[in-house]
Amino acid sequence: MNQIKKIVQSKQMVTFAWIIGLVAVWEIIASYVEKTKRTPDNVLPHLYQIVESVFSPDLVNGSQTAIQIVLSNAGITLFRAAIGFVIGTAIGFLLALLMNMFTAAEKIAFPYLMIIQMIPILGMAPIVLAITKDIDTSRIVIAAILTFYPVATNTLAGFKSVEKEKHELMYSLAARKRDIYKKLLIPSCMPYFFTGLKISAPMAITASILVDTLQGGGGLGCMLSQSLKHAMTIYVFWQIVFVGAIIGILSYALMTLLERLVSPNKKAKR
């Protein structure tokens, strides 16, 4: 009896209840839409209709079913986002390292790092496409820009947060600069670095989908536009909404997992 009570009151149960609640709200609105709108599929279909469309064997564009289209294009989008994300992470980390090593570099870059988080980079996507003239390159560039500054600012904050006494300990042991970075600064900044990654991973995916919409040539965003324009069934759009949400959340979860692998002592308080 107690066991059951424990399970019912557990954290997972609460989350689960909330998800059920959200599904209920969705369904209530969908039922209302069904009765009042001419094309309820476009506005808000029932969830079971979306699930049905996932398993539907009908070919949507002559050769693929809806879910095949969505998943293959998700692969394209995700691959480009990942390349941009990795490049952006590398640049962000190196910039933070440079800024921490050289005061001049910090002074030059810091105001621009502040400004870049105030300006809407995503709004610049079309012009990046115009400059690079290549949809893949611009996808990577935008994803990289959106990734590099959260990584840079958070990593730098990580370097700066190392207590004075830890620096003094290294100094008193006459540690070489390389050792100070290897043994103290880089391990210390890891939680901050991963905070940056957790912010930027979903952003890189959003960016990649947005750039897709700018031009034909595959990717989730491209299919999303086509589906909205009724070039193919609207359920492709609804599937993309859910797949987009799921990969966004998974990208965050992946970063959390990576963090746990890199720093096994995750419970450490700081």
Binding site: E163, E165, K166, E168, L169, M170, Y171, S172, L173, A174, A175, R176, D179, K183, L184, P187, S188, M190, S263, N265, K267, A268, K269, R270
Partner: protein, 280 residues
Amino acid sequence: MVGMKNTNDMDNSYLNNDMSATGEIGSEITIENLSIQFPDKDGGAPVVALQNVNLEIKPGEFITLVGPSGCGKTTLLRTIADLQQPTTGSVNIRGKSPREIRKEKKFGIVFQNPVLYDWRTVRRNVCMPMELMGIPKKERTARVTKMLELVGLYDFGTKYPHELSGGMQQRVGIARALAIRPEILLMDEPFSALDEFTKEKLHVDLLRIWSKTKKTIIFVTHNISEAVLLSDRVVVLSPHPGRVSAIVDIDLERPRGLEIKDTDKFNALVSKVRNSFEGV
């Protein structure tokens, strides 16, 4: 009671011999006319942290710098450790500058906070300075084991710092400082954040460790009774400006236990130190 006194006497004589033997070599650390000023942030007159300090510290001596906040005791310790540069005057350690000694990695430092790396286990924390020195892995492992046995934490080697109590964390800090076999152990208020019971336990441990390792220890504290219990000599510093106002010899017999705190001689020495402060 009588038996105990006897063993004390025996140990004491052994220690005295040892002291006199090393005493002939002369002083380990010589501080001459040391003054330190900090520039004022508001652009006013510089703050005098230490004024004209002269001090000789013998090899193997346990010396305590005691005083209220602002008396410059920590600044003095930091100057010896090459963490702070003198404005005028000099610190000389066996004919060398603090910087040379630091480069030779002859200092072990214990801070007020344990300053442990929370991503490393206890063992790997103690190991860290030896990694910097390039000591081979086999030797490192052996020394870590020895050090953890010395501070009574052998069973906690695989724990992470946040799983330990404050007192245990500070022991890890001491083990880490001793692991590189320093010649001088510098301790900056290492026990001041601990509760009274833990503190007393660590006092006993530190006395034991010191008698085993024979390091020169420079210990900073604002706790007079702690200073008297541990040291051979207590250097009393007074503030505004920071200066040495007295040096009190603690001629209590060794080895010492906590019971010594109940003796009249102990209390007389505590009073003597307390009355040596100026301008507080």
